[in-house]
């Protein structure tokens, strides 16, 4: 039964996903392409590309697209495929949500306890490093262009990066406005 399988596989993917969407891609690929043959490796690569250019967490994007494609491939009509897509997406969420609720409730209750204060005192500096590391790792040629092959794209990307940084940091431009402006700039320049 395709729906039960989707529910099981994506619940598993949800609960074993530590550390962000990209970490879960290899897990999804293994389940969806290698084990269940719901799609080919090419279709999977397409999903990754589509996920990067659509809003939302990449894990949800993958689940929605896989749910839809798997049900269509199994020979069901479009409405059943939409149901499969929603089911797969919610399957990713529900287990971590229950876990998150228990942890949150504990923290909200013991917010002022000495142990919790001590632990978060050292964790806050770590989060600063975590975000900086994420930004550094994204400074890649996929995001900025290859300086050797296309110096034009690279220089413009660095300029956009600096403008976006100064704009949001010093001039307090709303990040959503910034994304829209940069998208418009890309459309006009390239």
């Amino acid at each position: 039964m395709i729906f039960l399988e989707l529910f099981y596989v994506f619940s598993k993917i949800g609960i074993f996903n530590f550390g962000g969407g990209y970490a879960m891609l290899s897990l999804i690929q293994d389940e969806v392409v290698n084990k269940h043959h719901w799609m080919t490796i090419n279709e999977f690569t397409d999903i990754v590309a589509i996920s990067q250019s659509t809003p939302g967490p990449i894990g949800i994007n993958c689940a929605t697209y896989t749910g839809y494609t798997a049900v269509i491939h199994a020979g069901y009509p479009t409405w059943a495929a939409i149901l499969g897509a929603v089911l797969a997406s919610l399957s990713v969420i529900w287990l971590p949500f229950i876990l998150m609720v228990s942890i949150s409730q504990y923290l909200i209750k013991h917010h002022n306890s000495k142990a919790v204060t001590n632990i978060f005192g050292t964790l806050r500096p770590v989060i600063v490093g975590l975000l900086a590391a994420a930004a550094i790792m994204l400074m890649s040629k996929e995001n900025f262009g290859n300086p050797a092959e296309s110096p034009f794209v690279f220089v413009l990307s660095v300029a956009i990066f600096l403008l976006a940084f100064v704009g949001t940091r010093l001039y307090k431009v709303h990040p959503i406005i910034m994304i829209l402006l940069c998208g418009l700039a890309g459309l006009l320049i390239y």
Partner: protein, 177 residues
Amino acid sequence: MGIYTDIFLTFAKIGSFTLGGGYAMVQIMEKEVVDKKHWLDKEEFMDTLVVAQSTPGLFAIDMASHIGLKLKGVTGGIVGALATALPSIVAILLIAIFFQTFKDNVYVEKIFMGVRPCVVALILAPCFGMAKKAKLNKFNWWIPLVTVVLIAAFGVSPIWCILAAGIGGFIYGKLKS
């Protein structure tokens, strides 16, 4: 506007503009939830980041669940989580049903050539404000530095950094008292 509608609209908006992974929405969420709505203060927001990062599940959804829960209990959490996921589900369904060629569209690619460097800047920008809030001083400035090197240069999972720092903080507190 009722509080549930408010939670729903705020997180649907955040979900709509989460491009390029969960970290990119940190600044958007901070702006909406801390600066505009005052649902949390900045320290609480950073603590939420820690919890979301160290539990399984999607970063953005975890953040939304925690904040929704804090405001209105489990129902608030469910509303927050679903609202964050909804724009993503709708967008992918539309693409899957109508625009199979979306990713090859030359205009989409052009827009994203502009958006990608912007997303990197959006991830880096909140670090500086947070450094202040994390009370960085001459005793603990090395903590974020070591974290960056471990993660970016040695590929250590953020989970281990959080675990080590949490245990370290706990022991340090015990020794001090």
